[in-house]
């Protein structure tokens, strides 16, 4: 499970059931992405490459950093 530490959390009410949360990544952090060998063949990934990572905030749990 990957997690990101965030700050400057702003909340907008979309409707009765859903909120939109915007926030900022407050410090450099590391995540791990598991990809198949086929993807590696299709696109070479090497240490030092600058990449774009598409992430989904999934199964969201907002937790205080100090709790961990």
């Amino acid at each position: 499970m990957n997690e990101l530490e965030i700050t400057n959390v702003n909340v907008t009410i979309i409707n009765d059931d859903v909120l939109e949360v915007t926030a900022e990544i407050n410090k450099p952090q590391q995540i791990v992405v598991i990809i198949s060998k086929e993807d590696i063949v299709f696109q070479k990934f090497s240490v030092g490459d600058v990449v774009k990572v598409i992430v989904e905030a999934k199964d969201i749990t907002l937790s205080d950093s100090k709790e961990r």
Binding site: M1, N2, E3, L4, E5, I6, T7, N8, V9, N10, V11, I13, I14, N15, D16, D17, V18, L19, E20, V21, T22, A23, E24, I25, N26, K27, P28, Q29, Q30, I31, V32, V33, I34, I35, S36, K37, I40, Q43, K44, F45, S46, V47, G48, D49, V50, V51, K52, V53, I54, V55, E56, A57, K58, D59, I60, T61, L62, S63, D64, S65
Partner: protein
């Protein structure tokens, strides 16, 4: 004869109802999910029942019905003590509640945005594009584990069920540091000129 010139935008909206089933029998509906939410908030079945304007007996029977069906406890009651005892949700109770409200939030997104009613653009949540640098690559059988350093200062946005609103609003400062769980969907080499 219909007069098209008089036609106005009709207020047509879809409606939906969600409940969880187990072995094809209803297990948890809107009322039950709200009951769990209130027990989680007040640590008391009596207070939860009071807020929801239902009897304590009805609330307790509802809980027992779920526990009998699942053969698992969904609340834990600690009697007595200086605080007079309290009832909290078990881990399983919290999971049930979360499952219901997460599903409801996803459904609400679709039903409140007409552009999502058609086609396959089912939006589970927002996706974010983050810029990072590969710092490690390890083979794991048929896969690779790519460790990526995500740069600071980037914005993220996402949808959350409104049950989180109380905990979010209780914070005095939006500067408070928090954590979110994320699921990387795809990575690709950043080309020159890619939007960051």
């Amino acid at each position: 004869m219909m007069n098209d010139e008089n036609k106005k935008d009709l207020d047509i909206k879809p409606r939906y109802k969600i409940w969880l089933e187990m072995n094809k029998e209803p297990l948890l509906g809107e009322g039950g999910a709200k009951l769990l939410l209130m027990i989680d908030k007040y640590n008391s079945i009596a207070d939860a029942a009071n807020v929801l304007n239902i009897s304590y007996r009805f609330a307790w029977n509802y809980i027992r019905k779920i526990e009998r069906k699942t053969k698992r406890r969904i609340v834990y009651t600690k009697r007595g003590g200086a605080t007079g005892g309290k009832t909290t949700l078990t881990q399983f109770g919290k999971e049930l509640m979360k499952k219901y409200f997460s599903l409801k939030a996803h459904m609400a997104l679709i039903f409140n945005f007409p552009e999502l009613w058609y086609g396959s653009r089912y939006m589970k949540t927002k996706v974010n594009v983050l810029k990072g640098t590969i710092v490690d690559k390890k083979a794991l059988g048929d896969s690779f584990a790519i460790k990526i350093k995500i740069d600071k200062g980037q914005k993220v946005s996402f949808f959350v069920p409104s049950q989180h609103i109380s905990s979010l609003q209780q914070d005095d400062s939006n500067k408070k540091t928090r954590r979110i769980s994320i699921s990387p969907l795809k990575i690709s080499i950043m080309e020159y000129g890619d939007n960051e």
